[in-house]
């Protein structure tokens, strides 16, 4: 296998991940398109996901930071609705220099006397990356690519090593504290097999979460962005839909109304294994330099000959024959 092939395998655009994983005659690759412009923050997706997948309770606390008490994706939260409360002043371009009176974060009255405030809501989920770091680094083969092109953990094989957790550039997968094994969204693999859509998409009352063949979703999303921009929502943008991005495109992508990091998403995620060939090369050179360094330390040593006096007659014979 040439290096080009290896790089290709680890990162870059990939038209057919399921085919690459060995499936022949597999169904179309499916995914989620989450259009956050119509999300109303009802959390039906969170609840439907918990119920269908029988995910244990993972905290009933209040955070005090917003209506978002779920806080983030995790081992027992496979859908998470973010609530972002913004006043326009933090988003507008900085006022020209003399505006020293404006303290950051303070609400600035509009010309018509209103204060500008907006809420962004967005349902986050596992991205089912084209090049999934969690899958690539799993030492037991517990994570696998399904025939639908999605990424699923097999609970009975997961070893609880937790290596997939820091490998994920999106911070999705997590170990469940109660048993140490890693869990994440399966895109309702069991439902897909029966020709049904995932529970979260089924439960979404505004069609913010759309499920379907990925190519079709990408077209629909491009149209929707166009539509919003024409309507004056210039901040509308797609996130994770580009097959040329660091993870080869996401199986679950989003329409966002602000920068990705505002929603807790990384601006430019990269599959960690992209740099793996280089890492192994450096490790190899480092290992050789360790060997060479210690050999040098011995070779330049006159003490061996000065030492016991026996070494002169047969360093190797004495050393190895003991």
């Amino acid at each position: 296998m040439t290096e080009i092939d290896l790089r290709d395998l680890l990162s870059g655009p990939e038209a057919d991940p399921a085919g690459r994983a060995g499936y022949t005659g597999h169904p179309e690759r499916v995914g989620f398109f989450t259009d956050t412009s119509v999300c109303i923050g009802c959390k039906a997706c969170e609840v439907a996901c918990k119920e269908w997948n029988a995910i244990p309770e993972d905290g009933l606390s209040l955070t005090g930071m917003s209506y978002d008490n779920t806080q983030g994706l995790g081992g027992s939260t496979w859908r998470h609705v973010a609530f972002i409360e913004q006043s326009a002043v933090t988003r507008a371009p900085a006022p020209p220099e003399p505006a020293g009176a404006v303290t950051p974060g303070a609400e600035v009255p509009h010309p018509d006397g209103r204060t500008e405030l907006r809420w962004l809501m967005s349902s986050d989920v596992c991205k089912h990356c084209t090049h999934a770091a969690c899958l690539d680094v799993c030492p037991t083969g517990s994570l696998f690519r399904t025939e639908f092109g999605t990424v699923v953990v097999q609970e009975d094989i997961c070893n609880g090593c937790g290596y997939c957790v820091p490998a994920c550039p999106y911070g999705v997968i997590e170990q469940r504290p109660s048993d140490g094994r890693a869990f994440k969204c399966t895109m309702c693999y069991d439902r897909l097999g029966e020709g049904m859509e995932p529970a979260c998409a089924k439960a979404c009352p505004t069609d913010s979460i759309q499920f379907g063949p990925l190519d079709e979703l990408r077209e629909r999303a491009a149209g929707r962005v166009e539509q919003l921009r024409e309507a004056g929502v210039t901040d509308a943008r797609l996130y994770g839909e580009d097959p040329e991005d660091g993870v080869g495109g996401d199986g679950a992508f989003f329409l966002l109304l602000d920068e990705p990091e505002v929603y807790g998403l990384p601006p430019d995620p990269v599959v960690t294994t992209r740099d793996l060939p280089r890492m192994w090369t450096h490790a190899g050179v480092a290992a050789l330099s360790l060997l060479g360094g210690i050999a040098t330390a011995f070779l330049s040593s006159p003490a061996a000959r000065r030492g016991a006096g026996t070494a002169r007659t047969g360093v190797f014979g004495r050393g190895l024959g003991r």
């Binding site: 993972d58 606390s61 005090g64 930071m65 983030g72 973010a82 913004q86 002043v89 950051p104 962004l120 770091a133 680094v137 799993c138 030492p139 037991t140 083969g141 070893n159 609880g160 937790g162 290596y163 957790v165 820091p166 550039p169 911070g171 997968i173 997590e174 140490g180 990091e261 505002v262 929603y263 807790g264 990384p266 601006p267 430019d268 960690t272 294994t273 740099d275 793996l276 890492m279 192994w280 450096h282 490790a283 050179v285 480092a286 290992a287 330099s289 360790l290 060997l291 360094g293 210690i294 050999a295 040098t296 330390a297 011995f298 040593s301 003490a303 061996a304 030492g307 024959g321 003991r322």
Partner: protein
């Protein structure tokens, strides 16, 4: 997550941030104290840029986050398990090379001591791994497949090959039996040892943790230097003065290598280098530098005459190596927990790429060379 962070005074005694993208120096929210310094730094940078009065080609990345919550998940590993695993693996691996060298050059006490220390260290590192996994049979499960894309899988197989070799070398050396098998085991352990010491760097670097991933070029050299420092320290502690010349030299090489790797890393990491300089990681890295340099110098100056001087220097080297591993571990955790270290470098990378794409569209040979640089930066 099961306990509420809210008290009568708000979240951890502070009013919670009401905005997901605060404009203040800290990302706000529940992790204000954790994120404060890093965000403060970016703020400082931004202000410096403004004072100069010229708009840089690529606008300085503004830092926004979701209530200061981390973007990626920090590994759930315990420091004693995984940083301890890194340290013990390095001590064992480099120790096997020292043992083989000592055997070849007729230094029987050193050879035996290093073989025993390697066996002890590899046993400790396996125990740490098993403790991390939770149940012994889970280690066996690690060997159900071999996956070159998983450093964890490669490492498990490596350990499964190296452990028995190091064990056989130590046991046969002690009993004095089967000299040929002893030689073969010693040689095998010496060849696999450096890989055991180096692979843990890939294990750390092949993650989304900024302080580890972005240092993937330097970490292997840092790790083998640190492993050599530990092993030569162990040799200085255990071997008589007349045998310790190679260990003293190895210690000097290790200290120089480690200092060089740390400096290179700091230069290339940019903002992320802060995670190695602040908090627990910063203290550990500074202690490591002092202990390793002091140990190597002490060994060079005192180690050739005084048994006690050699032993104290050796202990300093061992402690320095442990501090390096724990420092790297904690820097990684700190960089994962603060969204700034994920978001700001990624934004800068994205904006650099966009600027270069624009330059390319503008045309000309300059644009082309810029694009190539951009690709390099992207890999970094």
């Amino acid at each position: 997550m099961t306990d509420s962070d809210v008290t009568k005074d708000g979240v951890r005694g502070e009013r919670a941030g009401r905005e997901a993208t605060p404009a203040g120096p800290g990302p706000g929210g529940t992790s204000a104290e954790r994120s404060g310094p890093a965000a403060g730094k970016t703020d400082r940078k931004r202000r410096r840029g403004k004072r100069r009065g010229e708009e840089p080609m690529v606008p300085r990345a503004e830092f926004g986050s979701y209530y200061g919550r981390p973007v990626i998940k920090a590994p759930g590993w315990k420091a004693t398990d995984i940083a301890g695993y890194f340290f013990a693996g390095g001590l064992a691996g480099a120790g096997s090379v020292l043992a083989a060298g000592a055997q070849l050059s007729g230094r029987p006490t050193t050879a035996k001591a290093m073989k025993l220390s390697s066996l002890a260290a590899v046993t400790a590192s396996t125990a740490a791994l098993i403790h991390d996994l939770g149940r012994p049979e889970r280690f066996a499960n690690m060997l159900r497949v071999f996956k070159p894309t998983s450093p964890m899988s490669v490492g498990s197989w490596l350990l499964a090959a190296y452990g028995p070799a190091a064990g056989a070398a130590a046991v046969l050396e002690t009993t004095g039996r089967l000299p040929r098998i002893n030689t073969a085991a010693t040689g095998t352990a010496a060849l696999l040892g450096p890989v055991v010491a180096a692979y843990t760097a890939v294990l750390a670097a092949d993650t989304a943790v900024p302080a580890w991933h972005e240092a993937h070029r330097e970490l292997p050299y840092l790790f083998v230097s640190s492993a050599t420092a530990a092993a030569s320290g162990m040799a200085l502690v255990t071997a008589p003065v007349r045998e310790n010349a190679p260990a003293r030299r190895a210690a000097l090489l290790a200290a120089a290598g480690e200092a060089a790797a740390v400096r290179l890393k700091r230069r290339r990491l940019g903002m992320i280098a802060e995670t190695y300089e602040r908090g627990k990681a910063g203290k550990l890295m500074r202690a490591a530098e002092l202990l390793t340099a002091g140990g190597a110098l002490g060994a060079a100056v005192l180690g050739r005459r005084y048994r006690s001087g050699a032993a104290v220097s050796g202990l300093a080297l061992l402690a320095g190596s442990a501090c390096t591993r724990f420092g790297v571990f904690h820097a990684g955790i700190a960089s994962a927990e603060d969204p700034a270290y994920t978001v700001v470098p990624q934004r800068e990378r994205r904006e650099r790429r966009a600027a270069e794409a624009a330059a390319r569209v503008a045309g000309g040979a300059d644009g082309d060379s810029g694009a190539r640089d951009g690709q390099d930066g992207q890999h970094g």
